[in-house]
């Protein structure tokens, strides 16, 4: 059962508060993700921490991407084609747990987010479709 690619991609954009890592985002965010990947090496983490701006300047990143990385603005980075599994190398470089870093993308503080998770997480009700509103 083959689905039309345009229909398929349009559906992926119809989820509230979500950026699916499609080919177009992957293309756009290629160097953001490759930069993040470099933080898997301890040497690179040390060099990055020593001077973030200098480290970022060595990568083919737009000024906007550099600013978003310096500010740890993860929603902005998702818009610029960052992917959370790549960005997680930056979470760990900062010594942040996955949950804490993830909470910064929501409208909650980390304690509020943690509390929501303990109570069963965010409900899918009303969060499934932008167009459908269900």
């Amino acid at each position: 059962m083959k689905q039309d690619i345009h229909e398929y991609l349009a559906e992926l954009e119809d989820i509230p508060g979500t950026r699916i890592y499609t080919a177009s985002r992957a293309r756009k965010g290629y160097w953001i993700n490759q930069f993040a990947m470099s933080l898997m090496k301890d040497d690179n983490r040390k060099r990055f921490k020593a001077d973030e701006r200098v480290y970022l300047d060595a990568w083919k990143l737009s000024e906007e991407a550099k600013q978003a990385l310096l500010a740890r603005d993860y929603n902005r980075l998702l818009d610029l084609g960052g992917n959370v599994y790549f960005l997680s190398k930056l979470f760990s470089t900062d010594g942040l747990s996955f949950a804490e870093a993830v909470s910064t993308m929501t409208d909650m503080t980390f304690p509020e987010y943690r509390d929501m998770m303990l109570k069963g997480g965010r409900s899918p009700v009303g969060n499934r479709s932008i167009k459908g509103g269900y």
């Binding site: 059962m1 689905q3 690619i5 398929y8 559906e11 992926l12 989820i15 509230p16 508060g17 979500t18 950026r19 699916i20 890592y21 499609t22 080919a23 992957a26 965010g29 290629y30 993700n33 490759q34 993040a36 990947m37 933080l39 898997m40 090496k41 301890d42 983490r45 993860y74 929603n75 998702l78 992917n83 959370v84 599994y85 790549f86 997680s88 190398k89 979470f91 760990s92 470089t93 010594g95 747990s97 996955f98 949950a99 993830v102 909470s103 993308m105 929501t106 409208d107 987010y113 929501m116 998770m117 303990l118 069963g120 997480g121 965010r122 409900s123 899918p124 969060n127 499934r128 479709s129």
Partner: protein, 280 residues
């Protein structure tokens, strides 16, 4: 002849690895998760599988944004634990089964699955956390592992139907391996979770359990669940559940459920675990 004797599925949340490595797995937070694996740890001791075909996804560890294989099989002799940004997990190296892996790779290619072959790579939490869940802490893993990496990160990821069919082809490949081996197939990742954007934290107990029910049944309806349903219902990272379908597809039409466990939450994620045996 080699044979697939069982299928196991489990979430592979990195924090579970941290809990094991730091001995927190019986505390108030992690205890209710790990208690659901006690049965399986005992069972694995009795089963003594020779090899596990471990279906997982790489989380930007072995593969960067450059090369994105849809289905890749590890044919190497051994694999080290990846440094995911805070140093490698202190777990033993993972020993491969190169003979079986190459046999499966060749068979799958002849069976129309265009596999990517990996000789050397590091393996991340997607592969090592399930080993820790099933075997606990050890000096040496008690099984050899054939890593089977699925792209569930860059879209389009493979369809559920394709994953299921890959499982069927893996079962055929294993059955034609001349050596007498007890082989298990594990599907990992999931269940519901979303790690990104304002909708992060989405969990769906009801849908997850419906999915577990589907895996237990003789019906193969689960292979036709479209990507958009996983994404809407179980969060953007819930798509990892397509990897459970590779496991289910390898077990044949009828299965017997040996064990099932579900717990919310572990960090951002719903934990699901099931052990199935082929019943035909």
């Amino acid at each position: 002849m080699a044979r697939i004797t069982a299928g196991v599925a489990s979430s592979h949340v990195p924090l579970l690895g941290v809990a094991v490595d730091q001995g927190k797995d019986r505390d108030d937070y992690f205890g209710p998760i790990f208690v659901g694996y006690d049965w399986t740890r005992e069972w694995e001791k009795q089963q003594k599988p020779d090899v596990v075909i471990l279906v997982y996804n790489d989380h930007a560890s072995a593969f960067d944004a450059n090369i994105i294989p849809t289905f890749a099989i590890g044919c190497g002799e051994s694999y080290k634990s990846a440094d995911e940004g805070w140093g490698p997990r202190p777990v033993p190296d993972v020993e491969g089964h190169a003979d079986l892996a190459w046999h499966i790779a060749q068979s799958l290619i002849l069976d129309d699955f265009d596999m990517t072959i990996i000789n050397e790579m590091d393996v991340d939490h997607g592969l090592t956390v399930p080993l820790s869940m099933m075997f606990g802490q050890s000096e040496k893993w008690p099984v050899k592992v054939v890593p089977l990496a699925v792209n569930v990160v860059t879209y389009p990821v493979p369809s559920g139907n394709r994953c299921w069919a890959l499982g069927e082809a893996i079962a055929r490949a294993v059955a034609s391996f001349p050596e007498d081996l007890n082989v298990q197939i594990w599907g990992t990742g999931g269940m519901s979770h979303q790690l990104q954007g304002p909708r992060a934290g989405l969990l769906n107990r009801e849908w997850d359990n419906k999915f577990l029910d589907m895996l237990e049944s003789d019906d193969d309806a689960a292979r036709y669940i479209p990507h958009i349903e996983y994404l809407r219902e179980t969060g953007s990272e819930g798509i990892e559940m397509v990897m459970w379908l590779v496991m289910r597809g390898a077990l044949g039409r009828r299965v017997k459920t040996l064990h099932r466990h579900y717990h919310i939450p572990c960090s951002n994620t719903a934990i699901g675990h099931i052990v199935l045996e082929p019943a035909e």
